[in-house]
């Protein structure tokens, strides 16, 4: 069978995701949110999800819909603060003790995912040393500087937004859409990309920003 990663709908692309899944969700600053896939995941009504997402509260991401629907057990993120005076859905549940939070410095967040897709189980970083975000973590000194041991992260599912794809799963991103998408795809058992358009022809190699070997399913969605 020739390789063809195109799937007809977001619902079909997520049909076999199970309760308790750990899910990477791309997007940062308004760019690269896979909102069609997030909504399709919400419609699956799965329980006890762990979300690994840069922000639990960004106003342009639909991540909050998963949280509001009570599908999420834990969030690993770098930002969990409401944009407005009112607490976000996440903050309400977190203050009630109904959702778990792991707050991670952003470079450590993305490097832990990169490591997860690159066969590196753990690494030392200077970031966070001496702060409450790394309390209890192993510290080692290299050439006179202190570093904290951080562990790789992997996931069952990655939801990624890109601009275009081809049948092989090759992805190309617009501007700052890329952010966490490429590393998230490398570290997930199942990587699904929603794109503005799936090309009829193979993508020219010089346009490929994430090789299709990392992407399992692509879905074309309305821009």
């Amino acid at each position: 069978m020739p390789i063809d990663k195109r799937v007809a709908s977001a619902a079909k692309a997520l049909a076999d995701v199970a309760d308790g899944a750990t899910v990477f969700i791309s997007g940062f600053g308004g760019a690269g949110f896979p909102n069609v896939l997030i909504r399709a995941l919400r419609d699956r009504g799965l329980k006890d999800l762990t979300l690994v997402v840069n922000s639990a509260t960004h106003r342009y991401s639909y991540t909050h819909e998963l949280i509001e629907a009570g599908l999420v057990r834990k969030v690993v993120c770098t930002a969990a603060r409401s944009h407005s005076k009112e607490p976000s859905a996440f903050e309400r549940l977190w203050m009630e003790g109904k959702i778990e939070l792991e707050c991670v410095p952003q470079g450590t967040f993305t490097e832990r995912i990169r490591a997860g897709g690159a066969g590196i189980p753990a690494f030392f970083t200077p970031v966070g040393f001496g702060t409450e975000l790394t309390q209890g973590k192993e510290v080692r000194s290299f050439e006179g500087r202190d570093y904290v041991l951080e562990h790789a992260m992997t996931a069952d599912l990655a939801l990624v937004r890109a601009d275009t794809a081809d049948r092989y799963g090759n992805l190309s991103f617009r501007y700052a859409q890329m952010n966490f998408g490429p590393v998230m795809a490398t570290a997930a058992t199942l990587a699904v990309a929603e794109v503005r358009a799936v090309l009829d022809e193979p993508m020219p190699h010089e346009h490929v920003q994430l090789p299709g070997v990392y992407v399992d399913r692509v879905v074309a969605v309305a821009a």
Binding site: F28, G29, L101, Q106, G107, A176, M178
Partner: protein
């Protein structure tokens, strides 16, 4: 003669005067992003935003704004000639690897040894927001802080040690406030410039840690810049 303390745009202007040709600069959210408006046009620099934009340009005009072309503060921006865009892992490898010459960051508190607290004010009923603050503070080649000298209630923000949760230890090299420009040195805080008309004793009274004054300490001067309404 008494001079008014600088407003936040004047602090940004003063900070911008120290940016050198060829630097790669990261600007934190809030007051720091205003620094970009005051870099002299003949000084060619690249602004890095940690979402991966290497070469951020001015804000996009409303009719040209693109939801995919944003900076780390979700502002719709443009890119300058020679810009590139990388993914988050590469962006932070650039930061951790010491390729960012200077990160200009806001702060709640700075300690005399350069410890920085700028991410968690311990506000009740608020979730945490760390973003890239710890990475930038710990790993930019130089960290400059831009902030009001005292809190709204008049309490010093420059302290013997921070009371709020730390962002990074011993990282701040220079502090720009509405009253002074201060270097953090191995020997402690050294005032390089002080607001004209403010005495050394008055500055000390507004500062929590010990201050030394550089032998060539100069008056802190900026042009008039009106705040937007």
């Amino acid at each position: 003669m008494t001079t008014q303390p600088l407003n936040r745009l004047q602090i940004a202007w003063r900070t911008a005067q120290d940016i050198q040709e060829g630097m790669l600069v990261n600007l934190g959210l809030g007051m720091p992003v205003a620094v970009a408006d005051y870099i002299r046009p003949e000084v060619d620099v690249f602004i890095q935003s940690e979402n991966g934009v290497i070469g951020v340009g001015p804000l996009a005009a409303p009719d040209r704004a693109d939801t995919d072309l944003v900076d780390a503060g979700s502002r719709r921006v443009t890119i300058r000639p020679g810009a590139s865009i990388v993914d988050s892992s590469w962006s932070f490898a650039m930061i951790r690897g010491g390729h960012v010459d200077v990160a200009i960051l806001g702060a709640f508190e700075v300690a005399a040894n350069g410890d920085l607290a700028n991410w968690d004010m311990r506000l009740p009923n608020k979730g945490p927001l760390v973003g890239g603050a710890m990475d930038l503070a710990a790993c930019a080649r130089s960290v400059w802080v831009i902030m009001e000298h005292v809190t709204r209630k008049g309490a010093p923000r420059l302290l013997p040690s921070c009371t709020l949760p730390l962002t990074a230890v011993r990282c701040v090299k220079r502090i720009y406030t509405d009253l002074a420009v201060i270097d953090v040195t191995p020997a402690g805080m050294v005032v390089r410039e002080i607001l004209a008309g403010l005495s050394e004793a008055e500055l000390r009274a507004r500062t929590g840690g010990p201050l030394a004054f550089a032998p060539d300490c100069r008056p802190l001067k900026t042009p008039d810049i009106a705040l937007p309404d």
